[in-house]
């Protein structure tokens, strides 16, 4: 079977190291994310408490490229986190076992740019990261309210089912729309 090791080499040659902040109470999820990120030479900061995570994000906002967060967290859930970090233009991708449309739409309205259903698959994580890492020059997608408006419109157009069932197609569609906004 095609082994990760040959692909790993290719991705490590890319100069951009994506820096990920992963937030979840489940240590197995954090380990899984760390492992996948290591394969592609991305740096990961893990955090098991949402309140602490908001502090990290505020302090290190210019050095974090992506937030991956479980929706259902104690004390401060994903929705509250999204609300309190709305002004921080870092893409936030939510994850959960909660497959309800209600949960997905709520996170999107609050500023999440994607939603992954658990259990996590390596391919799913990899596809998100490839789109960001494919730049030869380090660049970040700055997630603005304008971008977000386009995103919500895209979700309504394509339909929620596509977003969940065909994440790669949806991600590519979204990114193709946003390409002009790359800074």
């Amino acid at each position: 079977m095609a082994k990760i090791s040959s692909e790993k080499k290719i991705f490590c040659e890319y100069p951009s190291n994506l820096r990920v902040l992963a937030i979840d109470t489940d240590p197995t999820v954090l380990e899984f994310i760390k492992k996948v990120c290591n394969e592609y030479c991305y740096e990961v900061i893990t955090c098991t408490e949402s309140l602490h995570a908001t502090v990290i994000l505020q302090e290190k906002r210019s050095t974090i490229d992506l937030v991956l967060m479980e929706v259902h967290m104690p004390k401060m859930d994903g929705y509250e986190f999204l609300l309190s970090t709305q002004e921080i233009d870092v893409p936030k991708i939510m994850m959960s076992f909660d497959e309800s449309k209600k949960s997905v739409m709520k996170t999107i309205k609050l500023g999440a740019c994607d939603y992954m259903i658990k259990p996590l698959h390596e391919d799913r994580l990899r596809n998100i990261e490839v789109d960001n890492a494919g730049e030869s020059k380090k660049s970040r997608v700055v997630w603005t309210t304008e971008l977000h408006g386009i995103f919500v419109k895209a979700v309504n157009q394509i339909g929620l089912a596509s977003m969940i069932l065909q994440p790669l197609a949806f991600a590519l569609f979204s990114f193709s729309m946003f390409i002009q906004y790359m800074i």
Partner: protein
């Protein structure tokens, strides 16, 4: 025991876990991440899971003792977390028991919850034991090729 024999035994053991419906796709996902740099990745993740989940089991047990009345919301939340953790390692049967437990919670059925939890603990313990044996054998056999997908 020679190497090939060990490998065949390991493969058979694993296949049996799948055939009995104890493990699902997610376990294979974990195996696919295992490589020479992290030859015990799956075992490490599973160990983490058991550490985390035994804490949850104690919390659920505690919550079940606090009757008159049972706090079904709290139980459902705890079980949701436990189910999540079990799904992460591909514990198929345990996950199914979690679903049953949550059904009873939603129906406000205390007896059902108690019975289902007893069954869940049995499945949980059984899988844990089998996985421990599996990993022990795997460690003895030394590094091996990542297994092919079991159907």
């Amino acid at each position: 025991m020679d190497r090939n024999q060990s490998r065949r035994q390991i493969a058979a053991m694993k296949q049996s876990l799948f055939d009995q419906g104890l493990l699902d796709e997610q376990f294979i996902q974990l195996e696919e991440l295992q490589d020479d740099a992290n030859p015990n990745f799956v075992e490490e993740i599973v160990t983490l899971h058991y550490r985390d989940s035994s804490r949850l089991i104690s919390s659920i047990e505690q919550a079940l003792k606090e009757r008159n009345p049972l706090d079904f919301n709290k139980l459902d939340t705890l079980m949701h977390q436990f189910k999540g953790s079990s799904s992460s390692i591909g514990a198929k049967k345990v996950k199914a028991e979690c679903n049953l437990f949550r059904e009873y919670c939603r129906a406000g059925n205390a007896e059902g919850c108690m019975r289902s939890f007893q069954q869940l603990k049995k499945e949980y313990a059984a899988l844990r034991k089998k996985l421990e044996a599996y990993f022990q054998l795997a460690r003895q056999a030394g590094p091996q090729e990542t297994a092919c997908r079991s159907k």
